[in-house]
Symmetry: C2
């Protein structure tokens, strides 16, 4: 058989004209220059992991608050967990959900566990004048890593880079350029830095939140509180959020778990779960001090305060997660998939996830084709107990508020105005809504992009 197929030559080339992926410069909207949380110092430096001089490859964010920052994390549920995931998880567990700093390196994800373990023992202290030996005793630094594989992580460069931040060469600061440097040090194939901030009020006190993330390919995270070791593999979703609110470690974790489920765990670029996906949150309480005392928000003792914090964290996480989809490899569309009328959130989420990862649905988006049959087919491949096809409806929802377009109503195909359908699908932003037909009142929202020639180009030729 094989001999038969060797006649095939893979070197043929052909010139074709395709719709190119447009520049994403319109997404580089001004980064937030204020509303950064108090009690943090941030920076991004060129440590030399990336070859190109001056390109930032090491990010460092340190809590300077006297109050020990609570920390929580959601890690990839992939069976093969990258070393930074394992190390960060161990540090969090050992410290009972407290941390002082986050170190992230881009440019090389090939970090053996022991290397990261060394790094994890470093900690940036509130006062940055202590010698490295003191840092190592602290063991309060969470670590993240992203980049290409097949190279050894130049750990000495990273260590030198961190050490420089404890000396006169330090660039750690609390202003916008410092946060922007940190956000830029995250970037791999990202086309713009992803930094956001916000102000919110709990019990009359004003707090702040800043966050950054990165990712463009291998994006379909499924993260939760973790517990394993494997060489880091590659590109990934990384994000971290910093607030000056005070939240107990336990409640910070439950708020993050909820937020991640409805944000980062509800996005897909290409349906690929990475071995490194990590979202961290630090809450240092720097703005929560009253009469020199910090009272941490806890879901048991302050339900209302906790709910407000959880809502703020979720909204903020959604904002950060959406940036990743907008910057998705080859993406030309940003599509919101809403599934309602489901018996449970999990079922709604599964259906939305399946639609959001369907190659046929996503190529139809790219082709600006309102092919509801593909949407339905994808939805139907998920087992939904009690589903009655004659009660299912599908609607296209334009982002410009010019009116929705039902294409299937109670199982009956509408006589669709193809011109109007094309109009909606030609928008960069649009949504689709699938009503499962009154199986319940639960709903879930997913954010996805289209599948273009450029995705194949980027990933058909990644290492070479």
């Amino acid at each position: 058989m094989s001999r038969l197929f060797k006649r095939f030559s893979s070197t043929l080339t052909e010139t074709i004209t395709i719709k190119s992926t447009p520049s994403k410069t319109h997404l580089h909207r001004p980064l937030p220059t204020s509303s950064f949380p108090t009690g943090y110092l941030a920076t991004g430096i060129h440590a030399g992991v990336k070859k190109k001089p001056g390109v930032l490859d090491l990010g460092l964010i340190v809590s300077t608050s006297e109050h020990p920052a609570s920390a929580a994390a959601c890690f990839t549920r992939n069976a093969f967990k990258a070393a930074p995931v394992v190390v960060s998880d161990q540090i969090l567990t050992k410290n009972g959900g407290r941390a002082r700093a986050v170190v992230v390196n881009s440019g090389c994800a090939n970090a053996a566990a022991k290397v990261w373990r060394t790094l994890g023992q470093w900690s940036a202290r509130p006062t940055l004048s202590c010698p490295p030996s003191t840092f190592m005793a602290e063991n309060h630094t969470l670590v993240m890593s992203t980049g290409v594989i097949g190279q050894n992580l130049p750990i000495s460069k990273i260590v030198d880079g961190i050490r420089s931040q404890a000396t006169t060469a330090r660039t750690l600061a609390s202003d916008f350029p410092a946060w922007e440097r940190a956000a830029k040090a995250f970037m791999t194939t990202d086309t713009f830095p992803k930094l956001r901030s916000r102000v919110f009020t709990i019990n009359g006190t004003e707090f702040r939140m800043a966050g950054m993330d990165k990712g463009a390919g291998m994006i379909h995270p499924n993260m939760g509180p973790a517990t394993t070791s494997f060489p880091a593999l590659h590109a990934t979703l990384l994000g971290c959020i910093f607030t000056d609110a005070a939240v107990s470690p336990r409640s910070l974790q439950s708020a993050l778990t909820y937020a991640v489920e409805r944000s980062f765990n509800s996005i897909s670029v290409d349906g690929e779960m990475s071995t490194n996906d990590t979202i961290l949150v630090l809450a240092n309480g720097a703005a929560a001090s009253k009469n020199g005392k910090v009272i941490e928000i806890d879901e048991e003792t302050d339900k209302e305060g906790y709910e407000t914090f959880k809502t703020q964290l979720t909204e903020f996480a959604v904002e950060l997660a959406q940036l990743v989809v907008r910057d998705g490899e080859g993406a030309t569309k940003f599509v919101t998939v809403n599934v309602k009328g489901a018996p449970t959130y999990e079922i709604a989420h599964r259906v939305a996830s399946r639609i959001s990862t369907s190659a046929l649905v996503k190529t139809a988006f790219y082709g600006e084709d309102a092919n509801w049959g593909r949407i339905l087919s994808a939805a139907g491949s998920i087992s939904v107990p009690g589903l009655d096809p004659s009660k299912v409806s599908v609607t296209f929802v334009p982002s410009d508020n010019t009116g929705s377009l039902p294409v299937l109503v109670n199982g009956e195909p509408e006589n669709v105005d193809e011109v109007r359908a094309k109009e909606i699908l030609s928008l960069e932003d649009f949504g689709i809504c699938i009503d499962l037909g009154g199986l319940g009142n639960e709903e879930a929202t997913y954010w996805t992009c289209d599948f273009s020639y450029d995705y194949v180009r980027i990933n058909g030729d990644y290492r070479s």
Copy 2:
């Protein structure tokens, strides 16, 4: 927000040079011209559903055996089942697993349930001289439909086409050209007709088997014995197998269920389960008559005969299923994914399926890149109880028997010879083997293809 994104123009075009999908003419190897089962008449005609004159669009295969043919089917498990699926299932149930004929139309899949119900009541009788009213009373015809959506099925053309086969215009025959016509009438985006035959022996008696299938896109079937109604949606996997062995309806169904699980349910082109996927098998016993008596093989009364039949049916189904992957939309590679060392077949199958549908793995295949990290990442996204990453191995297996290439051994990356890796990946046929590390002795094999520019071209512009 939306206003911001309207700046994007979707009409930009760019000329790029890509590796084109090679012609698949080398796959059009000579069809089998003999070994067709006795007691069947087949044909394919141009009924007029497809617009182009002379293009076959209606296939008909009729059992002429006196012994009533046993029939079994595996239908899509999609929640939205196409009308032909529902009708065929009802006919099979009503007749206790017996059928006389199969009618398949291509060119239009938009068949409302009642239309197919009418058609399902038609039956081709052993003697083809009876009037249509007699056919209708028989109700022994199984139906299949494939093609584009958004058009009404011209049922009168189909009925006229079938009627012509009961009159002087009939082209029904038992020779190779007749079977070839039937196979061609199945085709939609297929680039070659998919017809196979084989001879096998049970208990000293020689039997024959012929089968045909179609499909190129929306291929990731999950089929089982069925039990719903919805308008047919579109392209799909269809296949039918005819044998002159005699098998009881119950045993025919259990043999088919087993065979389909290890063949059609183990292939993927694009991860998309259709609403129409159907595999039918008829066993008419025409070669099983001894002294005028037909004894049906049954798993209870003739375990050995049954096992032989099941094995033959499974091997044959694998052969037919592989043809679909080879003809996959945009496919330039045929990849065998073997997962072993699993605790259960189901887990091995789930891991193999996930790897076979990974966009990153498949674009790496297209780029001829031995990116084992992507394979591992995809495998790890499936929950495998007890999996120890330090015991997992990954090997590339060339189809030309020039020696396998381990890339990961017991969790440790090998120092891979990139030249050799490229050599293997540049073959049209190769395999990957993932050993889960002694969790059990179960294994599963999946067949998949790569993900190319051409897939995006074909499906980004399907309806327009």
